[in-house]
């Protein structure tokens, strides 16, 4: 039971989120951020975090190399942002600049999902999924592997510079830089054909912008994950502020169950008190929860800005409770309501279904289904019309009224196509497209190249005898001559 004895001793650790009175004298305007030395920990949440780290980093580093066959003349990379041709490819989806609303929708969806996660279980994003957390974890693991755990690192940093320390630090920074460099390398692969780019990068034939971006990403990864760490969450990220305003008393959050833990009493003293029949708290004030915290906060001070809710303190506390034979989850995902209920002798309640979670779910469903239906309904052709603003109409020599419009015909197919342009349900109108011959049935027939948009000026003329009203709907219909597929755009025909 040597280990148990060690773990029940007080851990000498200070927090960053509570200044005791002794700290107060001589508070400067600027202070060096206290360095956090997170201790390693094993447990359920640590395991979940390792798995998520492997999965998310795996996706990030390998996704550019996943192939997707789109046929000839099309890139075969599953996920690709093609700036040259202004297109975004995601597996079977191909987004053109005109469809940037898909990106808007995706961002709205992401925000709503973030809100829902927050309403259900607090800062799930911060603790488990945020790139800052993931890369910091990876860098910390590297640091631990080379320099040892918390205690060793503190001692080494406080001690003199030795050859070993120099070697260790050099190796650590070298590996950090390698990871950071790979991070930048993976990033640029999303913007060009990955295998070709990797080859070009290696043979120094890649465009300078690729090297520049790798440099930028290497720098940011190295600095943010290696040095800034929790400072990013505390001072740079807006989400903790927004999250604090969005949370409610029913949301699960990592919290210290002070109803059970207080009054904090050392292991030995509590044994004495228990023998007397008294009821000291379960917290033995060992400080393990603070020692493992990646942001250096004390969870026992209640919900606070610095807590990214990664759950590592739960693992640390569970380990201690296990060793001293007390039940786990003194720190757990819980709500303030339950603390109050337990103090009042009532049972715990969990209300995942409440007005705000229902609202978020409904909004996610609405935005998601709108996007999905738009995605399903979109064809590989489309047309848009834009009316001349000045003049709105022209009276021609014989008194006819003519409107001019600019239409754009989009051919998303990788083959050239022919489209017939018709004005749907529009009486005696004559349709003419500038520079385009009319077919045998009187409607213009236009060629549009593969993956191209063709702009056309079209003239719609209504004879004076038809007496057009001041404004009526004008529908352009384009029909693929070969397949019969059709698309429509609506505008107005304007007359005096």
């Amino acid at each position: 039971m040597k280990g148990a004895a060690a773990s029940t001793q007080r851990c000498d650790v200070s927090t960053v989120n509570l200044q005791t009175h002794e700290d107060v004298p001589d508070l400067p305007l600027y202070a060096a951020a206290p360095k956090v030395y997170p201790q390693s920990v094993h447990g359920t949440y640590r395991r979940i975090k390792w798995i998520l780290l492997a999965v998310t980093l795996g996706i990030y580093y390998l996704l550019p190399f996943v192939r997707w066959n789109r046929g000839p003349n099309e890139p075969s990379q599953a996920v690709l942002v093609d700036f040259t041709h202004r297109k975004f490819y995601f597996f079977f989806i191909e987004i053109w600049p005109q469809e940037v609303y898909f990106l808007t929708g995706l961002l709205i969806l992401a925000a709503l999902i973030l809100f829902l996660m927050n309403a259900l279980a607090g800062r799930v994003w911060c603790g488990y999924l945020c790139p800052q957390t993931i890369w910091t974890d990876l860098f910390l693991a590297t640091e631990r592997w080379i320099e040892g755990d918390r205690r060793e690192r503190i001692l080494k940093d406080a001690g003199p510079w030795t050859m070993t320390r120099l070697k260790e630090k050099s190796l650590k920074h070298f590996i950090w830089l390698m990871i950071a460099w790979w991070t930048g390398g993976a990033w640029v692969n999303y913007f060009a054909d990955a295998p070709t780019l990797v080859h070009d990068l290696a043979t120094f034939q890649a465009p300078i912008v690729a090297y520049a971006w790798i440099g930028i990403l290497t720098f940011t990864t190295y600095v943010l994950a290696g040095f800034m760490r929790e400072q990013v969450c505390l001072y740079m990220c807006p989400w903790p502020r927004i999250q604090a305003a969005l949370t409610d008393e029913n949301a699960l959050n990592v919290m210290y169950r002070h109803d059970r833990g207080e009054p904090r009493t050392s292991f030995k003293k509590s044994a004495v008190l228990r023998a007397k029949g008294e009821h000291p708290g379960d917290c033995i004030d060992c400080g393990q929860c603070i020692a493992v915290c990646p942001t250096g906060v004390d969870i026992r001070n209640g919900a606070n800005l610095g807590c990214i809710q990664c759950g590592l303190c739960i693992d640390a506390c569970d380990n201690v409770m296990g060793r001293i034979g007390r039940s786990p989850r003194l720190i757990a995902y819980d709500t303030d309501i339950n603390v109050g209920r337990r103090l009042a002798g009532k049972a715990n309640v969990f209300k995942p279904i409440r007005s705000r979670t229902i609202l978020y779910t409904v909004m996610i469903a609405i935005v998601g289904s709108v996007m999905l239906s738009t995605l399903v309904e979109r064809t590989n052709m489309s047309v848009s019309a834009m009316h001349d603003r000045n003049p709105m109409f022209v009276e021609t020599a014989d008194g006819s009224i003519r409107n001019a419009l600019t239409i754009h015909i989009v051919n998303r197919d990788s083959n050239s196509r022919q489209f017939k342009i018709e004005t749907e349900r529009f009486g005696a109108a004559h349709l003419e497209a500038v520079g385009v011959p009319n077919g045998s049935d009187g409607w213009p027939i236009v060629d549009v190249g593969p993956d191209q948009i063709r702009e056309l000026r079209v003239l719609v003329t209504v004879p004076a005898a038809a007496h057009p009203p001041p404004k009526q709907a004008l529908i352009f219909k384009i029909i693929d001559v070969a397949s019969g597929e059709a698309a429509e755009a609506t505008d107005n025909f304007v007359a005096p």
Partner: protein, 293 residues
């Protein structure tokens, strides 16, 4: 800092306060992290770099040019050069092709319309309007009635040499006599002929108008240019009077005013001011606005 100040401690957080209080809210004295301050200093050093590299300080007779000798006008000139180089290939094709060929080739047509539209907005829009819709005395270029011809070649000629533009020897010169001012017609005659002219395009004459007299005066004085049927003559820029398109308006007063003073609008000659390729793109643009013949 005095020790008294430090004794103001916020009870809830245990943090020292700045001593500032607003309606019971006290400001905690949480020191900013030092890296933040260092970032601020780094930005200042970066700014000093700007002074050295870029134009920065005003001097008595000029300014510091900086190591890069960067100049915003030079940057624009460079950009324009690049733009022209980018367009050079297409501009050569435009220069080599005839106007009809340009209109028959989709690639050239869309390029010419785009370039013509830009040139139109700068050079032509002040008189003819942003969309070529014209105004009183300035022809609507969307309509299909033309004074000097609506074929693409005729439009090119008009753009090059203008109308009644004395500095250009090939300009369209002829103009309508001032029948009233020069006492060629008296007022009753002008009134009669104006009534008659209005009927040519299907307008109802005024009550009691003497159309027969008007017609006879028209045949003597106007038909030589406007034609016996009033359909005009592009050679001399005599407008077709039988259409719904009126340069000065279809009212009798407007026609009387024309008869009184004669003359016609003036358009500058653009040859020499614009390069031939730009004039070609302008001709194509105007011709494809909708009214081209």
């Amino acid at each position: 800092m005095t020790t008294e100040k430090h004794e103001e401690i916020d009870v809830v957080t245990g943090t020292a306060t700045t001593g500032h209080e607003w309606d019971g809210l006290t400001e905690l004295n949480t020191p900013l992290p030092r890296w933040w301050l260092n970032t601020f200093y780094a930005c200042i050093i970066w700014a000093v770099g700007y002074w050295i590299v870029y134009p920065a300080w005003p001097l008595l007779t000029g300014y510091t040019h900086g190591l890069l000798h960067w100049h915003s006008r030079a940057a624009v000139t460079d950009d324009l050069k690049q733009l022209n180089a980018m367009r050079a290939d297409m501009n050569e094709k435009i220069a080599a092709a005839s106007l009809i060929e340009i209109e028959m080739t989709p690639e050239l047509l869309s390029f010419a319309r785009a370039e013509g539209s830009a040139a139109f907005a700068i050079n032509c829009a002040p008189c003819h309007g942003a969309g070529g819709q014209g105004s009183k005395g300035y022809p609507n270029l969307n309509a299909d009635r033309w004074i000097w011809g609506g074929t693409v070649d005729a439009i090119q000629t008009t753009i090059m040499h203008g109308a009644r533009w004395d500095a250009d020897s090939e300009t369209h010169t002829s103009s309508m006599p001032a029948f009233g001012r020069d006492s060629i017609m008296n007022d009753p005659d002008m009134s009669d002929v104006a009534d008659y002219v209005r009927t040519l395009s299907g307008n109802k004459p005024e009550e009691g108008a003497d159309l027969a007299a008007g017609k006879s005066i028209f045949m003597q004085n106007c038909a030589p240019c406007h034609g016996e049927d009033g359909k005009g003559n592009l050679e001399v820029g005599a407008p077709n009077l039988t259409t719904k398109v009126w340069l000065y308006g279809p009212s009798k007063a407007a026609i009387m005013e024309r008869l009184q003073n004669g003359g016609g609008g003036v358009m500058p000659a653009w040859a020499g001011r614009l390069d031939p390729t730009t004039i070609k793109t302008l001709a194509v643009y105007v011709h494809t606005l909708g009214g081209g013949k």
